[in-house]
Amino acid sequence: MSRPVSYNVNIKPLESDISIGESPEGVPGEGFFATSLDKVVGMARKNSIWPLPFATSCCGIEFMATMGSHYDLARFGSERVGFSPRQCDLLMVMGTIAKKMGPVVKQVYLQMAEPRWVIAVGACACSGGIFDTYSVLQGIDQVVPVDVYVPGCPPRPEAILDGFIRIQDLVGKESLRRRNGEKYKLLLESYGIQ
């Protein structure tokens, strides 16, 4: 079974050097643009997410590929991968979290400032994966609330990027009052976070 080498030969030509995102709904006019605050803040937030890679195992290596030159996470406004929870918006948990590690994940989550989002990358972080054992936490949603799950063992870099884009959608559409709401408080309380 021979088939031709499958490199990407149909490279899409660049329309311009800089691609500009769509502007939100609003009223344009001479020298001004009126729209709701929600949308502006959402747009600003979603295109400048600072991720905190919490990489423990295999998925972390795939994240390295995502972050590296080939897949380039920086295209999505995440050039700065921060390793300090205080400065980051997005906790990316990648890899198996053992029970010994569970409290550490929670601690890191607590150290992050609101608004904060969490993405669980890989089967282990989502559900424990193939490791249904005495020592592995069966999914990080047992200790912290999760916004987006990326399945796969490990997920391909494209899948991680897809999860990241979904986080961007969430961030962009989030209402400014969500974090003050009753529902959100209840959610955090269910994890024992005040």
């Binding site: 079974m1 021979s2 088939r3 031709p4 080498v5 499958s6 919490f54 990489a55 423990t56 195992s57 295999c58 972390g60 290596i61 795939e62 390295m64 590929a65 590296g68 030159s69 080939h70 390793f83 300090s84 890899g95 198996t96 979290i97 053992a98 010994k100 590690m101 550490v104 890191v108 193939i130 490791f131 054992t133 005495y134 020592s135 592995v136 063992c153 490990p154 391909r156």
Partner: protein, 408 residues
């Protein structure tokens, strides 16, 4: 004053003149999940206490419940930077227990895959050493070329990182033409890149200052600590499983074992680079040997062991017998012979050993992984004692500690 009365201070903590620093489990400067409690006198490290087990996943216990084939995915997740190497090691162990002789072509194909994964592993390790000494360029530059290796894996088994590659007795399918074309592309393009990568660092003043003379260990201590692989060779001992107990026809290849002298970070980095050159050399030899097979020999990609090798998919759909065997193999309903086997391969980090005890059942009675990372990490205290705090980070990455392998 009254409030301070019931603050309990640890005994001796007032007179203490050293600072305690928690490095890890998630420290901004470290990669992977290891905790080091460092005692610092100024910036000098007085002692280090390592804690591991932050991703302990009970591999050995799982392996007692799984038939042979279902253990292959576990070995992927040991040292995930070079998964195919672990897969091959495990299959070679099974073959030793079952008494299977693999054809030469299978051996050579395995050698190609094993050396490719060694390159990808060393590449990550060396570029991360670069990152930790402040040079991000090398990392960004070579990641591109690691993708070439992953593309070859994809052609062979469909997966990138955790490959689950191969079967007992060989491979699941023959390498297609595209795989070989991609291999040729890699062999053609990679040497120039590697040379350039080495040039970025080798005589770089900052890099040399940061790595030379830090994290060193002498040969005697390294042996006593059970070092193997590049870390032992950097200390000057030319022990290599590929040469000392050849497996997968490594005796047919000509290659050198690069060694260092001082066992410091710089030597480790150099040894890994030299090994990448040797690996390229081995791959070229193996590729030539593979191409020498003509006619029906060129279609051989597995040993003839119908009891353990999955039947062809076409037959499974049409023939009763094949369907039965397929079911039995997938469900692990085949008993193993009784015996105890120790087989080791030269993993990217050192001697990766599998100690398999079978009591004649369907699953191993006991499977112990000799995980090189776990064994040499205990020397970390001795490696960094007396050096600066910043050297501790470089030492951590130049040992190439893989948390998955360490904690199993």
């Amino acid at each position: 004053m009254t409030e301070q009365a019931h603050i309990k201070l640890q005994k001796g903590s007032i007179e203490k003149t050293t600072t305690t620093l928690n490095l890890g489990p998630t420290h901004p400067a470290t990669h992977g999940v290891f905790q080091n409690i460092l005692e610092l006198d100024g910036e000098r490290i007085v002692s280090a206490t390592q804690t591991v087990g932050y991703i302990h996943r009970a591999f050995e216990k799982i392996a007692e419940r799984r038939p042979l084939y279902q253990i292959t995915p576990l070995t992927d997740r040991l040292n995930y930077c070079s998964s195919p190497l672990n897969n091959m090691g495990w299959h070679i162990t099974c073959e030793k227990l079952l008494g299977i002789q693999t054809p030469k072509r299978v051996d050579y194909l395995r050698v190609i895959i094993m050396e490719l994964s060694r390159i990808s592993d060393h590449l990550i390790c060396n570029s991360i050493v670069g990152v930790d000494t402040g040079a991000y360029t090398g990392f960004l530059y070579v990641m591109q070329y690691r993708e070439l290796i992953y593309e070859i894996y994809e052609e062979i088994c469909g997966s990138r990182l955790t490959t689950n590659m191969g079967r007992i007795g060989g491979f699941e399918r023959n390498f297609n033409d595209v795989a070989f074309q991609k291999l040729e592309k890699f062999l053609k393009e990679y040497p120039a890149v590697l040379k350039e990568f080495i040039n970025l660092f080798e005589r770089n003043r900052i890099f040399m200052e940061r790595t030379q003379g830090t994290g060193g260990i002498d040969a005697d201590r390294a042996l006593n600590y059970g070092f193997t692989g590049p870390n032992l060779r950097a200390a000057g001992i030319d022990y290599d499983v590929r040469v000392h107990t050849p497996y997968s026809s490594y005796q047919d290849f000509q290659f050198n074992i690069p060694t260092g002298t001082t066992g410091d970070n710089y030597d480790r980095w150099q040894v890994r680079n030299a090994e990448m050159w040797e690996s390229l050399n081995i791959i070229e030899q193996a590729y030539r040997k593979v191409q020498e097979f003509k006619g029906t020999d060129a279609d051989v990609f597995h040993a003839n062991v119908s009891e353990y090798y999955l039947p062809e998919k076409k037959d499974v759909y049409t023939k009763m017998e094949s369907l039965i065997w397929h079911f039995k193999i997938v469900m692990g309903e085949i008993n193993m012979p009784v015996g105890e086997v120790y087989q080791s391969v030269e993993g990217a980090n050192g001697e990766l050993g599998f100690y398999l005890i079978s009591d004649g059942g369907r699953t191993p009675y006991r499977l112990h992984f000799r995980r090189p990372c776990f064994i040499y990490y205990q020397a970390y205290d001795e490696l960094v004692r007396g050096s600066m705090l910043s050297d501790a980070i470089v030492t951590l990455s130049s040992l190439n500690l893989i948390a998955g392998e360490m904690d199993a």
